[in-house]
Subunit: 175 residues, 2 copies
DNA sequence: AAATTTACGTCAGTCATATTGACTTATTTC
DNA sequence: GAAATAAGTCAATATGACTGACGTAAATTT
């Protein structure tokens, strides 16, 4: 923080551009702020371990999907092998993730979270879960389903099926 | 892309951890995927200009809030002055943003988008707007409001009022 | 059986975004 | 006049991402 001067006294002159009526600017900005704060809790916790957001993402998906292949992880995260390398290596070296050769195809290195790994993943998940729970708390059941559908429909159409499978319980998020 | 091998043949063994019943894991992951794809359209467009996501954020909020102070921008983005410096400097040098001393407090440097700046901001906004519009298309009116409330409630409680003001039209996003 | 493809890893170099810490300048407020 | 504020700047560093090139082992194709 140190140097940042919080205040945001937004009593600015704000003549503001005539927002083109068809552009849902509020949703664009809300998504930005929602995500900014959504990531802030785990980021703070990860700092204790010397990990960053990239470690979180890898650990989360491996913890949730034991036996994930490296290739799958790359597709999920939309990053390159080289980007993954350092992060994954650290997680393996510090005993959060372990790799096992695939039983059927031995070229594969299947990824599993260790107990340590599951524990950290769960801790981080709970932080985000708490924020989500309270954000959904006011909403009626249909509202929660609407929020869920909205997020699902924000995903590229050709990725939705994969995501739905990954998430598992493919309940009601039809296109 | 080059090296990334898309496939995600998620017919993994997936014995999966017993998801603690109170943790809405699906929402955590959906938010991740939604945001990943939400940023992908503008990222691609920005690459043409040699700009990144940071430039987008700065340009967007300046375009939407003419006369914004540097301090306000730092609070909005939750970054430090030093991080902003390079990005802002580039946007000023390449004539997307201009700075004017505050008419009342001359220490301030108020930020305005130029025509060029507004044009680029609008172009990027339209990309994101299109995705949002189609994500909301299936939903009934209450569903759209629910999605909006959900996002709003994801914001840190002590930041909500500022965000609501910034967004302007404080319609129905009550706490 | 040889050739090709695939899964994964790795070396090397680069870029973008962000950080901390320290210091300067101009201006306003007390 | 002193203190506080808004902004800018220098320097060093970390993190997450990229491209390109190459190696190795194992599976698949021909």
């Amino acid at each position: 923080m140190t140097d940042v001067n919080f205040s945001l006294s937004v009593d600015r002159p704000s003549p503001a551009r005539p927002a083109p009526a068809d552009v849902p600017i509020d949703m664009i900005e809300l998504l930005f702020f929602a995500y900014r704060d959504f990531t802030s809790d785990p980021d703070a916790a990860l700092a204790e371990f010397g990990f960053g957001r990239a470690h979180h993402r890898v650990l989360h998906f491996v913890s949730r999907n034991p036996g994930l292949r490296v290739t799958d992880l790359l597709a999920i995260l939309s990053i390159t092998k080289q980007s993954l390398a350092r992060v994954l290596k650290q997680l393996v070296e510090e005993d959060y993730i372990l790799q096992e050769p695939g039983p059927v195809d031995r070229r594969e290195r299947l990824l599993f979270a260790t107990e340590r790994g599951h524990a950290l993943a769960l801790r981080l998940m709970r932080l985000q879960a708490e924020r989500i729970r309270s954000a959904l708390a006011d909403l009626p059941q249909e509202g929660r389903e609407a929020a869920r559908s909205f997020l699902y429909n924000m995903i590229d159409p050709d990725q939705r099926a994969d995501v739905a499978q990954l998430i598992g319980h493919n309940k009601d998020q039809a296109p």
